[in-house]
Amino acid sequence: MNKNKHALYLMISMGLFFCAVYLLDAYGNHYYQRVSNLMMIYVILTVSLNLSNGIVGISSLGQIGFMSIGAYVSAILTLPPGLKEHWLTGLPHWMSTIQSGLFPAMILAGILAAAIAFLVGIVILRLQGVFAAVTTLGFLIIVKVVAENWMTVTRGGRGISSLPTYTNLWWTSAVAVITVYVVLRIIRSPYGRSMLAVREHDLAAQSIGINAPRIRLLAFVISAFFTAVAGALWANLIGVVSPGSFYLWLTLLIIIMMVVGGMGSVTGSVFSAIGFTILLELLRGFENKIAVYGISSIIFAIVFMLVIIFHPDGVMGDREFSWDWFKRITPLF
Amino acid sequence: MLEVTDLEVFYGNIQALHGISFKVEKGETVTIIGSNGAGKSTTLLAIAGLLKPQKGEIKYLDKHLDKLSAYQIVSMGISLCPEGRRIFTSLSVYENLLMGAVQRRDKKAVRDDIHWVVSLFPDLKDRLEQQGGTLSGGQQQMLAIGRALMSKPKLLILDEPSLGLSPMLVNQIFEVIAMLKNIGTTVLLVEQNARQALEIADRGYVIETGMITMEGPSSVLKNSDRVKSAYLGG
């Protein structure tokens, strides 16, 4: 009974969401479209990070490395062939003559990142938190160093520009919805529920019959997949990829979004990503006005420290949205 | 000298002490006996400032201890030799003893006291440079007691000093306690080994599941049927 009702609500809200997407995509001005796209990309990144770091408790600081991989893969695939032959001389011939669309680029980006995540995951799952954190940070640095030095494939520090801007709101919002759906499915699976219950207690999880390493590895790989897809979307939104874009600041930014929303809560991640994107834009406007740059990152870092000191569980802890919330507000539900 | 009233301590939601009250007068040797998990160590850790009580008060020389940090409590003359020895395994015996006197400024007297401790526990004599972790269990226990003595405590608290020791070593440890008692140190002794504890103590308390259930002079407790059957093996 209740279930049917909730399915109905869900369909209605999805319908409203995509109506909004349609309106914004068709009639919205360029700036709002861009911010909304970024918002959806941050939602994907934060929810994916939450899957690995919050829900299955892998201490990874390297997720942005997967984003970088995804962005570069997509950039290389979607760059017009004329420019490719000119800039990316290290590519095999067949690759420099084709130009792929966004969808295949996204999927390939995700698959490559997932494969790399599988290898990285095998190492870090054996490590205790701090070691895993620094190792994944090492991975992030490796990715950056490769992007900076592999001149004939990544064009080094100059980055790859003039990318076709395929990304639009339909793509970003669809991927965001799929990411949320997949992660929620994982949380609601029997594995996921017990993972959440016994987070940080591997032994306990193993003793109740969960193959903890396997499910954690799977979560890590899925997280990397969506993170890379977000990277692909990002590359074809901004039109440029360069090594410095995917580094410490972005890493901290999505950590902040995740922690403030609540490690373990998808709802928290979604709303936190939306909120912080708006805040970021407001601060950026302010920075432009006074022509002093870098204030936003300082403010974000301070906010993060305050949250972690005074409210370490974030806004949502590991709770999730439920329709019952509305019951309290209106008897209609 | 020490007065504990209505002490309640929780670990998370689990209440370990349900209102404990007892007293130790100056110069006395008092023992607390009780079975495993009764709350003895919890009581002592609360006195030493490592656990914060939710309710009740701990007064020492008419001052409240419950708001103080552990180091302040040490500086007031209380020294706890914890359960399970907990010596510094990577420090030498000598350094362990120095750490016992970490708050003292009288370097010369500290060195004399190290000699004094070594004279109490001759086993440690040739091992001052040995790493704490390489000592035998019994030697570690002596080192732990010695370390607790190095702060020149007015009140020495011992948590199961005889745990896991051979009868001969147990006797040696009780001899040292008797000696400390003779030179006027106030001792609060927690023991599983109730027989010897009651032998040496002036008064005793029995603690069961976080509550004091009996108290009295040792001679009375020793002869009570309940104590006899529960703690003295019939």
């Binding site: 201490s59 600081l61 190492v123 054996r126 205790q128 938190g129 701090v130 070691f131 954190a133 620094v134 190792t135 940070l137 090492g138 640095i141 490796i142 160093v145 490769v146 900076e148 030095n149 410490l248 600041w249 901290l252 950590i255 902040i256 922690v259 002093v292 870098g294 990152s297 300082i298 974000f300 870092a301 301070i302 993060f304 972690i308 000191i309 370490p312 | 030493a48 400032g49 490592l50 552990a70 180091y71 409590i73 040490v74 500086s75 020294s79 706890l80 914890p82 907990r86 010596i87 510094f88 395994t89 990577s90 420090l91 350094e95 120095l98 750490m99 016992g100 970490v102 708050q103 702060s151």
Partner: protein
């Protein structure tokens, strides 16, 4: 240049680089052994030290005064960092403090960028890098000599400090058993503040040597060294000072000889190789090489 001469040239290079790593790693390991905190912002103390020295020098302060003041400022900055950023988090999970230190990195690096701009600045104090003497075509620069000698002196003093002083022994005691340290009356805050102060002084020295070696400084200069210092700590066993030193030198040698062996077109990848090395070490020995002591949540 003959083969042997080339080898010695690299040897000196490695010794000099290893010294800097050792200095950074000691500070990192000191704090870690007491608080179980990986302080990524430790690298930024290097940066703060170098900037302070340069700014003081630019303002007309005599070189040696500027250096001394910069290093002391660095120590004070470390103490403030502990007080403001880490003390409120005492008792939190390791990951919480680690993430916080990451936020501190972003905070400090952006702060310095805001104050002094993002650009690389030349650091040519004392002309440290000019070769002072040469033996059989091996060039030895001032900075190499200073790095090695200074580091040796510091190591000697540190050893004495750790072995002989009350606060030094207390540091080891706290790292060994926190509860027992409380019980004997060690004042934890003093020990922690001392560890931060000393570690930060060393970071200041390391920052000076690092910028002098590179001849430049920039806001992000401390980040790679501190993550590498972690690799050194993993090699040397976490939490022990001698281990940190060994790890620092091993890393210095590994890096320099790796670069020497690599074909020129791959030399840009040196940092990548260092972290691949880390991954391989941890793959074989998840606890690091020399350190078998299990790490637990503390304080």
């Amino acid at each position: 240049m003959s083969h042997t001469a080339y080898f010695f040239q690299q040897f000196i290079n490695a010794l000099s680089l290893g010294s800097i790593y050792a200095l950074v790693t000691i500070g990192l390991a000191m704090v870690f052994s007491i608080l179980r905190l990986i302080n990524f912002a430790h690298g930024d103390l290097m940066m703060i030290g170098s900037y302070s020295i340069l700014m003081l020098w630019n303002a007309g302060v005599p070189v040696w005064m500027a250096i001394l003041a910069g290093i002391v400022l660095c120590g004070i900055a470390g103490v403030i960092m502990e007080r403001v950023c880490y003390r409120p988090l005492r008792g939190s999970a390791e990951m919480t403090t680690l993430l916080t230190s990451f936020a501190v990195v972003v905070l400090l690096e952006n702060g310095v960028t805001l104050l002094f701009g993002p650009n690389t600045r030349p650091f040519r104090i004392l002309n440290f890098t000019s070769p002072t003497f040469s033996i059989d075509s091996i060039l030895i620069s001032k900075i190499d000599v200073i790095s090695v000698v200074l580091t040796l002196i510091i190591l000697l003093l540190t050893t004495l400090f750790i072995k002989k002083t009350t606060i030094g022994i207390s540091m080891r005691a706290v790292a060994d058993d926190l509860t027992a340290s409380h019980l004997v009356g060690i004042r934890l805050n003093r020990v922690i503040v001392s560890a931060f102060f000393i570690g930060s002084l060393f970071a200041g020295v390391a920052g000076l040597l690092w910028s002098a070696r590179a001849g430049k400084l920039y806001p992000l200069m401390g980040f790679i060294p501190v993550v590498k210092a972690f690799v050194a700590a993993v090699i040397g066993g976490f939490g022990s000072i001698p281990g940190a030193v060994v790890g620092g030198y091993v890393l210095g040698f590994a890096e320099v000889f790796l670069v020497a062996l690599l074909p020129p077109e791959l030399q840009g990848y040196r940092d990548a190789f260092v972290f691949i090395l880390l991954i391989f070490i941890l793959l074989v020995r998840p606890q690091g090489i020399l350190g078998a002591k299990t790490m637990q949540r503390r304080i």
